[in-house]
Symmetry: D2
């Protein structure tokens, strides 16, 4: 049979793990969703039914939980690097050639209660009580390729929903026979940001790791600020401004990709009711929606973040 | 045919509305999901095909958007009262006997950017830029019954996810032949709070409306504080503490109902790997889950919040 | 504290269970999602932290799985009755007064392969291979109340999506100042049926159980046929026709409740493109949607299916 | 600024369209979800705020609906080819270089009612009444690249959930220090199939289009049959069998990619209740899950279906 087994990978997806640090009465928690995917010498597993080269997905799951105890979780990225290296380097006979770890991280904030120990108005944290921040999800994808001894780290976020109530126009576009859209000189611009950014870090030659957590906070801030401060003539322009803002400010990042659905807010026609809608009342639509996607990268860098 | 048309209602559900206030450069927004449901003299609509008594759901939708312009949206509750009264009082021939308005409200926070106008470290809000708070959703249900001229307001929240990493035990329960659960003297307690609370407000005799927004903030705070401060021997006990905390502190509320799924965090058995799990590594499960529901109300009050 | 603990209940929700019968090479499967909820003497659990009266939710889960082995699953309803009676009758000191079992059932069909044993065109089932039917979900709710020794069974379905491409009109309705809807003399009528129907069965005095599975198939068929055959002047009218059709044909049912969202299909205006849309091209909208709900019951029967 | 705008694309996503054919009383419907994405000379749109090269996403939406009227929808693939060619060939000044059309198709079946025109037992279709098939969703992705005048068609399906209750083993795998999985000699194998397959069709030189609808039915059947008939030693092996089965039987397809989550069914331990679970009672888990992905292609074909 002249059929070829092409790219293939497997692993355990969506391992939900909560790691608690109880070193003081002020507990710390990490709440992750970890997905493992391995590539390597798995032809026999597919073709012959022999599992001699198969590290079970169940074992990859166990490893995630065990590593959380053995090494702790300083950041999703550092944890992913540890796991990816392990699967490649420690699996017997080198059958795993590369490993990809994807992680979603959910943020929790501390619950505050009134400070009753003082006459002054104030509040104090409860050291073991948390409320989940339902906003954006932090993401990362780590790939370790054993053949090149290279780590690739793409961090990101999703479900960050933002809105500008003004400073957005859209006009001067192509008109063809199917165009009915009216030009807009003051519209709402809203989107749900999915962003991924690649680090120049490769993990070779004892290169020190970036401070992943601090980097994340800064990139997130720059994305928000660029969105808020850009006077927009198209969502494409805003996308570009957001990507370049990150590159301009974060040397550790060399590629940014953004997916920005245009969450349409349509002005409701109130004229049948003798009311004038002065950009006050909008219908927030679900579907269909514009979808704007693009990459900005440093000159000379070969972009690697996949188009989806 | 000896068949009876029983309870029936209809209306337009999930009208997504965003209302922008542009009175200053610091814009304000309200983001609501409004569902209308009407009861009344609709037998003919069901039985004869005559729609002479039918106010179209499309009209109820238009009314929501028009009212947002005409009256603004001070709070979801006040807006719901206006709408409910309108459908009953203004629909021709009194065919609408009662109206129920359900509203979900989504919170947006302002995006802050560095304050570049001052030498001092600080930040300033962008008056027209917002990021959606993905946490809990505020809810309310308003019913106006024209025959008794009574308004009933049930406010609430959902999707408020909270966790205590200690101060939770569970033991001393019934053991029968199907019991395998080990007693726990220090466990994680996590839940996704759905809460509803009824106001004593009836809208009769020019009774002034409570400050709905301030009331909401306080009830939410008391729920969080009671969750954080209760040393728990069961999720039922925590539920009761949360409900009574609200009643003890908010005179305008006379009934509280809570639905608390027990979001299980299972301690992972690391002993096969020669590791000791000292309440550090948990598996966060999706399903199945415990579900604890209960009502707390003032003495003499007839509870009305429905069991679901 | 003059606060009263009102209605309360608890149990394990969403126990996903698959039961396989291997009595022949033609396997049979039941795929259920079972939720348990108990009411009883649980004041101390809420008020004092004593769990002496608490049957753990974990035990209720174990019981579901054990009963699947001990008694098998003839139908969701019969299985629910067994469980509900058990929790009330067998829990020590009679602390459980009533039990509610809710079950969702997912349907699987057999995979057929070509019949290679015969020269004739045909196909044969693979006795152990199934493909899930992604259509409607069958539901039931069983409540056993030990104080009255009464079983109440409400069966149902959800997610049954149906469409008529003609034979639907809507006109002659109330017009007020907020009405803009055009009358329609030939529209698409589509809805996603949620139906619940109550059986007259009470379980007292050795009353034999209905054939739950056959009853379900017939009720489902009558709902579909009534939807298809009714020339509709409103979705309310269609709802009523569906409910009465069931009552007319199934003596074991004495109350039917339907929730019918009007899944709007809007005719697209193609006139800007010099095209005439002769009821051919529609936009299928997500939200907002009309929502029509109603009960039909036999005369003399007190309706009990709750309004949601 | 040494930043480069990399890959970028935009368009209107998730245009929900229902097309009705009323040529006889036996209506036909097509129910699609169409997403458009364009690539081309859009640098200025991103960099300068000029929209002179921007065909609005709203126009791409209008085009979808207009084309449904002008050309009808014979199949999702043929409709996608028409649209993709149009956006590239007809947009002014050739600014659109390539267009990608993704389509989801939902299946509807006819509602049957008893045949009352005959004394014989039978049923007849209602020509205008349909019930949605909630099973798998048919998918396709068409890309037309104007620079090479090449069409690429990848068809597929998702949400096809299948289960074998026997004929599945898993043993002989790598054991390392994190392995706890017990070998299985008779387990349930269940998965939710996502499949994509590429056609050799390129659209050049008046190449006739395959019969897309017939091809789809056959590929789907071969996937199901291969799943049912394969005695499995791993899900990887089943994946490979499914892919090769399609290639062996469908000459028009030259690459198949499958994503197969292992929907774990765990045998419940009933021994604490003195019950023996003879492969009868399973817990169907949600997360975590194994995820097996792989490509099978003809020798000499360069695989193009992206890894996700």
């Amino acid at each position: 049979m002249a059929h070829v087994l092409g790219q293939n990978q497997y692993g355990k997806a969506e391992n939900r793990i909560v790691r608690v640090y109880r070193d003081s009465t002020r507990h710390e928690i990490k709440d992750l969703n970890v997905s493992v995917s391995l590539q390597g010498e798995f032809e026999d597993v597919h073709l012959t039914g022999s599992n001699a080269n198969c590290l079970p997905t169940d074992t990859t799951k166990n490893t995630v939980y065990a590593f959380a105890k053995e090494y702790g979780i300083e950041s999703a990225e550092a944890f992913g690097i540890l796991l990816a290296r392990h699967f490649v380097e420690d699996t017997e006979r080198g059958v795993v050639h590369s490993a990809r770890i994807r992680i979603e991280e959910y943020t929790w904030n501390r619950i505050k209660t009134p400070d009753n120990t003082s006459r002054f108005i104030g509040s104090e944290e409860v050291g073991h009580s948390f409320v989940r921040d339902g906003g954006e999800v932090r993401t990362c994808e780590v790939v370790y390729d054993g053949r090149t001894d290279t780590v690739q780290v793409i961090s990101g976020l999703k479900d960050l929903v933002v809105m500008n109530t003004t400073n957005s126009e859209f006009w001067g576009y192509i008109k063809d026979k199917y165009t009915t859209l009216q030009e807009a000189y003051d519209r709402i611009l809203a989107t749900q940001v999915t962003a991924r950014w690649k680090f120049s870090y490769t993990g070779r030659d004892n290169e020190p790791q970036p401070n992943w957590n601090r980097s994340y906070q800064h990139v997130r801030r720059h994305l928000l600020e660029a969105f808020a401060e850009t006077y927009s003539y198209s969502l494409q322009q805003t996308l570009h401004a957001m990507g370049t803002r990150v590159l301009n400010n974060r040397a550790e990042v060399d590629e940014v990709r953004l997916e920005l659905p245009n969450k349409h807010h349509f002005l409701v026609d109130l004229s049948p009711f003798d009311l004038k809608n002065e950009n006050e009342v909008y219908y927030a639509a679900d579907r269909m929606y514009g979808l704007i996607e693009g990459t900005v990268h440093r000159e000379g860098v070969v972009p690697v973040i996949p188009v989806v």
